[in-house]
């Protein structure tokens, strides 16, 4: 099967509006999680990765009037515009747009402060298409917390089948009161910044982000390139809001993705886990990694730095994984204290430099969905 190459990318997050700023923050160990007041919570607020509205509007102003676009639209449009700026030769008529979001502009539901049907996911997709003049109808994926990574897998599959030769994969989600109240009703929101895989983890922190990644069937110009060489998803078929105790779907996803990549678990140099910091999720992941034979492989979760950015997270984390491979850098799994899962895991406690070639990115979500992606670094001939 044909590979796809991961070319330019942009991350818009509380840690900056470019991938470079985000990588600098991660190297310095800075987290985007801050305390935000909200009277829904008994302690008066929650920790989350929220993008500062005014800085976003300042960055957006060259593209349009920030008053006419929602916060999410500004984030997503900014991400795409920066990809287009870096690639002036890109033809929009032959570039597909693959969008992932779980809730889009959900806070516009029943609210008419913005014209059009933008509270609806199709409306959001159409707005992004029309803003730049993409000719193809966007392919929009809403598949819970694996959406961003699944969008990348969908782009690869359709690209490999020759349906298009390049695509911009775009993910975005907000920390809306809608989602915050829902996770709070599950008792899942951590009263402190989340601690993935830790003994003292107390639940998730939410975050907001937009991420965009240009993928192509053609290689990049540089000395090395990163390609997506294996991907798979599988459903647990056990519960809609709790992960499988045996890590069934994630295990199967990892098996299938490695098989497609023609690799064995021992070839994996680094795992970028989902790591939401809920008791059940992290335990399920540890079980699935153990069953997969990924013993001692350096592993982290980016949730301590960004929070869980839902439909953006797996794309954002795939982009960070790409840069880990390119730069031979491994980022610390922030807020980790002491191992709190039943299987041994080699959690990255500090920033490290290490020669890397193969990385595995995983994600899991409500509805029992799981995803695994295998990324590979190769020298250009």
């Amino acid at each position: 099967m044909k590979k796809i190459y991961l070319l330019d990318d942009v991350i818009v997050s509380p840690l900056g509006f470019s991938t470079r700023e985000n990588l600098t923050a991660l190297r310095e160990g800075r987290s985007g999680l801050k305390f935000h007041k909200n009277n829904r919570f008994p302690c008066g607020g929650f920790y989350g990765g929220i993008i500062e509205k005014d800085s976003l509007a300042n960055a957006f102003v060259g593209l349009g009037d920030p008053k006419k676009f929602t916060k999410l639209e500004q984030m997503m449009l900014l991400a795409v515009s920066r990809i287009l700026e870096k690639n002036p030769g890109l033809h929009l008529y032959e570039t597909a747009l693959v969008i992932s979001t779980t809730k889009g502009n959900i806070d516009l539901l029943g609210n008419s402060s913005f014209p059009g049907d933008r509270g609806n996911l199709c409306g959001l997709g159409n707005l992004i298409r029309d803003f730049f003049g993409f000719q193809r109808q966007p392919i929009l994926i809403s598949n819970a917390c694996i959406s961003g990574g699944l969008a990348l897998a969908v782009a690869k599959r359709l690209l490999a089948a020759g349906k298009f030769s390049q695509a911009i994969v775009l993910g975005g989600d907000l920390v809306s009161d809608f989602v915050l109240s829902g996770f709070h009703s599950f008792g899942a929101i951590s009263p402190e910044p989340c601690r993935p895989f830790s003994k003292n983890r107390k639940g998730i922190s939410l975050g907001e982000a937009a991420a965009a990644l240009l993928v192509s069937s053609r290689k990049s110009q540089g000395p090395v390139h990163i390609s997506l060489i294996g991907e798979a998803s599988a459903n647990d078929a056990t519960h809609i809001s709790a992960p499988s105790r045996t890590g069934e779907g994630l295990f199967k996803s990892i098996q299938n993705a490695l098989r497609e990549a023609q690799l064995c678990p021992g070839d994996v140099d680094y795992v970028s886990a989902h790591g939401t910091a809920t008791a059940y999720n992290d335990e399920m992941e540890a079980t699935a990694f153990h069953r997969s034979g990924l013993f001692g492989v350096p592993l982290n979760s980016f949730k301590g730095a960004y929070g869980h950015s839902l439909g953006a997270s797996a794309l954002l984390e795939s982009i960070l994984t790409k840069h880990s491979l390119l730069n031979n850098e491994l980022f610390a799994s922030m807020n980790f204290d002491e191992l709190g899962v039943s299987k041994p895991l080699n959690i990255l406690r500090a920033f490290e430099r290490k020669e890397l070639k193969i990385a595995l990115k995983t994600a899991s979500g409500f509805g029992g969905c799981n995803l695994a992606l295998v990324l590979k670094k190769e020298e250009n001939d």
């Binding site: 609806n120 809403s142 598949n143 819970a144 490999a160 089948a161 078929a237 809609i240 409500f366 029992g368």
Partner: protein
Amino acid sequence: MTEFSYKITDFVRLKNHGIFHGTAPVFKAEKSLALEQFLKESYNKLEIAYPKFHKMDGLCKLGILASEVLFKDHTISRDTALVFSNAASSLESDKNHQQAMGGVVSPAVFVYTLPNIVLGEISIKYNLQSETVFFIDNAFNPELLMDYAEVLLDSKKSPAVVCGWIDLKNAEYDVFLCLISNKGELPLSKENLKQLYLFENE
């Protein structure tokens, strides 16, 4: 071009208070019936003994009813992929959750505010540990469904695919699911998918 020729093995339609298996009516309810009542009567008519059904939101109930009809005459492999799409996402549950936000929010409502939960419910009921995806589109898009189904089949990621449209908005529902595999007579094509979707069973 795909390497193989795939077939539309079977299909199911839920619309206008009716359930159709292929072109044959399975159940036709009174037009005056409210959505909840229609879903319940359909459940009884199809003799589905699955108490979890009653806890589901409308979108998931529609998915279970449609799958029950579609899977009836076939042996379904665990690796059968689910490729669903709609325009309204999980709008009905979104509205219910939003209404509750002023007071007591229920996790049992919130969990249904994702369109892919219907894929999870079907996977649980029929024990499918397969590839699943939920696409959001302005309208039924036979090209995307066919392209994606073919990719899954060609790459051997799935031996069969259930794909289609499952939309619910303001108690109006529109469901069309079909089973794609190498069995059957009707070739998989955009035109055939479109015709079956548009077919009016009156």
